[in-house]
């Protein structure tokens, strides 16, 4: 479903180019659970952002669901992204001014989903993640684990085919982290959601089906579990 060909990302520092990603080739199939690992500065987050279309590569081609993303216009890319990709962040990035319910609902608003359908979908998600009782609370009133749960519910509300997670357990304690990883595994196996996660933790990486190790902007090794 996803294919990167010779993707590079660099910054001009003076007359030199500093490469963050250097000619990366990567293919991800439907239903995979990929973990990207590597030391700080190896380009993990940049790779994830490029896959998530938050960032654009300096060079190279990228195909998503057989669409050439590098050729698409902003509007088409945005539409493709809206319907198919969900994002989960280390810092949760919930909107402070919105309640749990409204945070989960927001992506649907941007996709012009009808009010009745929105209600049903959000109610469903609240139910599924066991946060019905928290729906009227604001993010500041929740624990880190609960906030991340809301973040995941929000990422999944529009039924994306691909879920991207940037160190989803980075700010959580080990027990909360474990619960989130169990949830990811379940989503991957039962709901067939393709997941790509960036992680520092060897243990969390084991939940996936493939581990990609990055070093200095290049794929250093790939381990299939």
């Amino acid at each position: 479903m996803l294919s990167l060909k010779q993707v590079s990302k660099y910054y001009n520092t003076g007359s030199n180019k500093t490469y963050v990603l250097n000619k990366v080739d990567l293919d991800v199939d439907q239903g995979e659970f990929v973990s990207i690992m590597g030391p700080s500065g190896s380009g993990k987050s940049t790779l994830l952002n490029i896959i998530g279309m938050l960032d654009q590569p300096s060079e190279g081609y990228m195909y998503f669901l057989n669409e050439p993303v590098h050729q698409l216009k902003e509007k088409q890319r945005s539409a493709l992204y809206k319907q198919n990709i969900g994002f989960v962040f280390q810092a949760y990035h919930l909107i402070d001014e919105l309640t749990v319910y409204e945070n989960i609902e927001t992506p649907l608003l941007y996709q012009d989903v009808k009010s009745a359908e929105r209600k049903a979908l959000v109610a469903d998600a609240l139910d599924r993640f066991n946060i019905v009782g928290k729906k009227d609370l604001f993010p500041a009133q929740l624990s880190g684990g609960q906030q991340q749960l809301v973040g995941i519910a929000r990422a999944l509300i529009s039924k994306p085919k691909l879920l991207l997670a940037d160190e989803p357990t980075g700010n959580l304690n080990s027990k909360q982290g474990e619960e989130i990883m169990e949830l990811f595994k379940k989503l991957n196996q039962e709901d067939k959601v393709t997941i790509i996660q960036v992680t520092h933790s060897e243990k969390n990486a084991q939940y996936g089906s493939r581990i990609i190790n990055l070093l200095d902007g290049k794929i250093d090794s790939t381990v299939i579990l």
Partner: protein
């Protein structure tokens, strides 16, 4: 979705309530003052627009190209109007118009009234509809009179007015009139004001001057045929002018007048009546013309304040945008489109603007009475409900939200998603736009401060300049319509002879300054002296005038009852002596008032400002000729007990004239009254400057709050490294002080140009000193520094550990 926008907007606004409150305050003040200002301006420009045929009505005036410059005059000779209508085919209707106070008697009822002397065409030209009577026939008889509903109520009460006979006493003549029409009360924005209309044939001196083309006493208004183009008027009227004004042309030629571009020395010209309210150029129009400077400076200041408030709004929104960068980033990852985000922020702007408008309009209702008193404005809030004004408000509202809301929204939408989510929003950069806007704000503020100081200087100069006569201890009493002036003077003299407070009593034709009766008159006369024309102001005075007013006598003597032939004597001022030239003028004869009664000079006085300080001291000749009536009685009292003396003289007056109002005022009150419009302008500048500074400082305060938030970490690090409080305060203020300084310097040339232009209208004026600019700059700098200090000091004394831990 819309509901959602509003909900989120509300929560965001509430979260930033301190900011938004500042925003709303600034904008509300601006809305309130702009509403008042623009209503006033609209009102001033709406003058006379209720006349249906406004665009076809013109006032005739003459232009004389005198050797000393062009002189415009709207006073016309009595036979002119009918000759004009007969000989200039485009004229459809024409009316002469003169104004005078009078006393109306009906039964036992005596009422003061404003009498307007017009021709029958008047009612056909102007839209003063009659509620009773026939418009076409109402003034057809010589003794017809048309009165307004208001006047009818005053005179007749609830009784019918039509076909009643009233006695009008005007100019000491009593005449009966038959009420043939009742006119609907005219709107307050009418230049033509009257209680009673009567035929022009009753105007003073009508019978004597009926065929005299040299005596000019009233104005002439004409309505032209539809589609008339006044462009070629001066060419078409040439033969008419040559025929009837031959004398003027001959005199002008003799004195060396230079013809204008059309080869005319003397010509007639037309002034559109639509511009009547602003026509203070041709000397004498219907009503009180005002200078266009006044509404225009109001518009400029209104726009300034609105601009400053909008700039605040932009700066505040941009500043607040930094704190909301993360939200924008998250929304983008959730699939928000550019327009969706723009709409969201725009909704917030609309809510803030709406709140400001509502608060502003409330402020308006609170302030309108003070405003009306201060600026002599006749506006009412009901004017806001007129469709045109409602539309104006909506347009202004949308414009402000678009200008002030769109740019900050666009700024926020442009943030780079990834950078924002990583928390790397570039908050430290001050931004060229913000600096530019701050400079604009403070340029306008400093400009207004400078204008305030200079107008204030000029006004205090005007009221403190010695005028060459005693203005503190002399009381001026307008005689009014109830008595003949010379009789009244005689009676008052006898009455006050034994009053220990009174030093001397005299009388004159012209007042000094502007009295409580509000009228001003002047009489300019020309005669041939040594083969050239000498023009002089003429003042009829009575015995003891020079003594009463403490005017300095340079040579000769003043009028004295001991000398028998004083009625042919003249007292002249220095300017007149210079104009006549030669030495030993005492005893020389001048052929004033034609050749029949040559008069001789008996005294020369030092120059005194008998006109306002707008004008230089011109030649003045004082006589005791009986042709001019005594209109004002002057009483000089002993210093010390002015209030007591006033009451004393008042009771004397009432003993003589129990029915007449005592409208006396001290001469310094009269001279002050000449500068009302200058005071009004200075009031506008002061209020504008204060508002501009307050709103600008609100904006600066908010920006300094933002800046401190953004530089919190830097401040912490600097403190850890050993910076002291003063050092940090200076560091934080420095950038802003530079901007304010630049702004002040930018305002100098504009302020200098505007104010020196304004000062040109005074013959006597202050110089613009450099320290005014320095003082204004210092003021702006101090205010800006104090504003910033609130935040910078707080940040500087905070514990650095706190700010560093939060990182």
């Amino acid at each position: 979705m819309i509901k959602n926008y509003f909900k989120i907007a509300w929560r965001n606004l509430w979260k930033g309530r301190v900011f938004n409150l500042m925003n709303i305050t600034g904008l509300a003040v601006a809305v309130a003052c702009c509403t008042l200002i623009f209503l006033t301006v609209y009102y001033e420009f709406s003058y006379d627009n209720f006349h249906d045929k406004l665009d076809r009505i013109y006032q005739v005036y003459n232009v004389a190209n005198r050797p000393k410059g062009v002189e415009k005059n709207s006073a016309m000779p009595i036979p002119m109007a009918s000759a004009f209508k007969a000989e200039y085919p485009a004229v459809k209707y024409v009316t002469r118009s003169g104004n005078m106070g009078g006393v109306v008697t009906y039964g036992n009822q005596k009422v003061d009234g404003d009498i307007h002397f017009v021709d029958p065409d008047f009612l056909k030209m102007f839209s003063f509809p009659l509620v009773q009577g026939n418009r076409n026939a109402a003034l057809s008889e010589l003794n017809s009179a048309v009165i307004t509903e208001k006047a009818a109520k005053k005179i007749f009460g609830s009784k019918p007015a039509l076909n009643q006979t009233i006695i009008i006493n005007s100019n000491n003549e009593e005449k009966p009139f038959l009420v043939t029409g009742v006119a609907k009360d005219y709107p307050s924005n009418s230049s033509i004001t009257f209680d009673i209309l009567v035929r022009f044939e009753h105007f003073p001196q009508y019978k004597v001057e009926k065929n005299n083309w040299d005596s000019r006493s009233h104005i002439v208004l004409a309505e032209f045929n539809e589609g008339y183009n006044p462009q070629n008027f001066s060419k078409q009227i040439k033969s008419f002018v040559n025929k009837y004004y031959a004398g003027d042309i001959k005199n002008l030629k003799r004195d060396g007048a230079k013809p204008d571009a059309n080869g005319d020395i003397f010509t007639l010209a037309l002034a559109p009546f639509a511009n009547n309210h602003f026509n203070n150029d041709i000397g004498g129009v219907e009503g009180d013309a005002i200078s266009k400077t006044y509404p225009l400076s109001l518009v400029v200041i209104g726009c300034f304040i609105l601009l400053i408030a909008c700039i605040n709004f932009i700066n505040l929104s941009v500043a607040r945008g930094f704190t909301r960068a993360r939200e924008v980033g998250v929304r983008k990852t959730l699939g928000a489109g550019k327009w969706q985000l723009l709409t969201q922020f725009w909704v917030e702007t609309i809510m803030v603007c709406f709140a400001s408008t509502v608060v502003g309009l409330l402020l308006c209702t609170l302030l309108i009475n003070q405003f009306k008193a201060m600026f002599k404005s006749k506006i009412s809030l009901a004017m806001l409900l007129e469709p045109a004004h409602l539309a104006g408000i909506v347009v202004m509202f949308l414009a402000v939200t678009a200008i002030a809301g769109f740019y900050p929204a666009l700024m926020m939408v442009r943030y780079k998603t990834v950078a924002v989510l990583k928390g790397k929003i570039s908050g430290g950069k001050p931004g060229k736009l913000r600096n530019t806007l701050l400079v604009i704000q403070f340029t306008l503020s400093t400009l207004l401060i400078i204008c305030t100081i200079i107008t204030w200087q000029q006004i205090s100069y005007l009221s403190n300049k010695p005028l060459g006569y005693n203005k503190t201890e002399v009381l001026s009493i307008p005689v009014g319509q109830n008595a003949k002036g010379s009789d009244a003077l005689q009676l008052m003299r006898n009455e006050l002879r034994n009053n220990s407070n009174v030093e001397s009593v005299s009388g004159a034709y012209m007042n000094m300054g502007k009295g409580n009766d509000g009228s001003s008159m002047r009489s300019v006369l020309g005669f041939i002296y040594h083969d050239r024309e000498v023009r002089t102001h003429l003042q009829r005075i009575d015995y003891d005038y020079i003594k009463t007013l403490d005017i300095k006598l340079l040579d000769g003597r003043e009028f004295d009852s001991k000398f028998g032939n004083d009625s042919t004597g003249l007292v002249i001022n220095e300017s007149m002596a210079r104009e006549l030239g030669g030495k030993n003028l005492i005893g020389s004869t001048l052929p004033i008032m034609g050749g029949e009664s040559p008069a001789h000079i008996i005294g020369i006085v030092k120059n005194f400002n008998f006109q306002s300080l707008h004008d230089d001291i011109e030649p003045l000749t004082m006589t005791m000729l009986k042709d001019f009536e005594i209109n004002y009685i002057f009483v000089k009292v002993k210093p010390g007990n002015l209030v007591g003396a006033f009451d004393n003289i008042k009771s004397n007056w009432h003993r003589l004239y129990p029915n007449a109002e005592f409208k006396a005022s001290w001469l310094n009150e009269n001279t002050e009254r000449q500068y009302l419009s200058e005071r009004r302008l200075s009031g506008i500048f002061v209020s504008g400057a204060v508002l501009a500074i307050i709103i600008s400082c609100i904006g600066l305060l908010a920006i300094s709050i933002m800046m401190v938030v953004q530089r919190n970490k830097e401040i912490g690090i600097r403190k850890v490294l050993g910076a002291n409080v003063l050092g940090i305060v200076m560091m934080l203020s420095q950038d802003f002080m530079k901007l304010v300084l630049v702004a002040a310097i930018l305002s100098f040339p504009v302020a200098w140009w505007v104010m020196s232009h304004w000062l040109q209208s005074f013959a006597y004026r202050v110089d613009i000193h450099w320290w005014v600019f320095a003082l204004s700059t210092a003021l702006a700098l101090i205010l800006a520094f104090v504003t910033i200090s609130f935040q910078s000091i707080k940040a500087a004394i905070a514990n650095p550990v706190k700010s560093l831990r939060s990182e």
